[in-house]
Amino acid sequence: MGEVKLFFGPNHPGMHGNFSVHMYVEGDIVVKARPMPGFLHRGFEKLMERRLWYQNVALIPRICVPEPDINEACYAMAIEKIARVEVPERAQWIRMIVLELARIANHLWSFGGIGGPTGMYTSMYWAVADRDRVLDIFEELSGARIYHMYIVPGGVRKDLPPKLEDKIYHLLDYLEAKIPEYETFILKNRILHTRLKGIAKIDTETCLKIGVTGIGLRATGVPYDIRKVDPYLFYDKVEFEVPTATEGDAYARISLKPKEIIQSIRIIRQCLEKMPSGPVNVKIGEGSGLRIRVPRGMAYVHVESTRGEYGYLVVSDGGEKPYRVAVRGASYPQGLYGVEHLLPGTRIDDVPIWLDSMGVCAPEIDR
């Protein structure tokens, strides 16, 4: 049998997002694979150097479309670290609520996304509709469904609107009742088992070697979670567990998502209880939003996104614009090195499952 060259994506039913893998296949086995990123490249890092510190708040959510809030949080926290600004307590708790809601939304999103490559469309129809309920909360909170631009350097933009806490509680109750249904109806389903068990198996050593973080790593039995290891915000003041699995295959990764949602619900409940009243932001420096300056310095801030370590390196030369911002996309290692070295050996029809379950997210790789 000869080798066939195959362009997998960007326009491909199995490809989520604008990403491409070029590969040679023999039969239906991938023998060589090369990632082809860059379709979503907008040059964020350059554009950020051209915009004022505050203006960038409008730009950065777009780096990771399904989970924009982590960008805002990283950027804001990095600036606060350089400027040595203490953010009011209430703002920190609100940020945690936002980040955990975003985590829920994105887990639901990718839980739905796995419906495509497995043919289990129920999960897509259920999870995406449930994600919309989270987006409704975001809309109430920040005024937009997708790009919230809500976490800003110094705190958050506005306080919670009235009655939103009740709505969040209501949503959490709903999800808590819904998640077991997902598990019985979807995770225990035969289709998913057949399509995911034993597929795209990776061991701990490989993960650590190439720098895979997040669920990909935790599905191999290692409880590494930045929220626990290097707690930011008030993650050290709330109780939650880091769910792990041992198999390291696609099924293990997918099955961790509902478990993480349950933990996020736990965290949000604690945040809502512990959150004091008070101010929700402080000024970075003096003056109007046009003239924010951040002192000279450099700081790296990373958070635990749904796909792993998401980080911002922010460099300031003391001016009115960032001197340099570098973004560490969470799926950079698996999306590039992983695709090249771990994909060969997989069958073509498992390639989308590989990419989906590893959380390869094109916009954060391309930036």
């Binding site: 860059g38 720098g211 290097d230 990373h302 570098a326």
Partner: protein
């Protein structure tokens, strides 16, 4: 998260860095983040040393263009999963002839980070044979775009025309307000 033994470990690492490697300076960003500036010839030994000490996770390898100083600063961010401590290891290379050495034998993923840095800054990494292949950009024909002397707006204007609106929006607004009489198109 940090136990006291880890704290001691951190101090030991910082002091042995200074002892073992000449010219290395450390700076505290916050209790769990340190910046280490190394001379170029010491960078890779320092990185290997730190990896051995548990700083085994390479979060990112990136570059900063200090155009006024005519230097590129290469930044390696290392993370310790055990202690939660981050080291920002950096070194400076000459901006006119930017060449450094690959670390892909230490961290395989670095291969792609190095390609990225080469593409956006033009820094070459010796030992990484793929480093000059285009990765994100396609058919790029200008300065590496993240260099400070590259102006994206100018490039955009030259290559991608803007829309030139014909409409007199203010006139339309005055009609809407009832300040002047007239018809609105649409």
């Amino acid at each position: 998260m940090m136990s006291s033994t880890n704290n001691i470990g951190l101090e030991e690492i910082l002091s042995s860095l200074n002892q073992l490697f000449e010219g290395v300076s450390t700076e505290k960003v916050d209790p769990r983040q340190y910046k280490i500036i190394t001379p170029p010839e010491k960078t890779i030994p320092v990185l290997e040393f730190l990896k051995e000490k548990g700083y085994s996770h390479l979060s990112i390898l990136t570059c900063i263009d200090w155009i006024a100083e005519k230097k590129f600063e290469l930044v390696y961010i290392l993370f310790n999963w055990g202690t939660g401590v981050t080291f920002v290891v950096s070194t400076y290379v000459n901006r006119d002839n930017p060449i450094f050495y690959t670390v892909k034998h230490i961290w395989p993923t670095a291969e792609y980070y190095e390609r990225d840095v080469h593409e956006f800054f033009g820094v070459k990494f010796e030992g990484n044979e793929n480093c000059e292949k285009p990765l994100i950009l396609e058919l790029w024909n200008d300065l590496p775009p993240l260099r400070k002397d590259f102006d994206p707006l100018e490039y955009s204007k030259k290559h991608y025309p803007d829309r030139e609106y014909q409409k007199d929006a203010i006139h339309e607004a005055r009609i809407i307000r009832g300040d002047v009489r007239g018809e609105i198109d649409g």
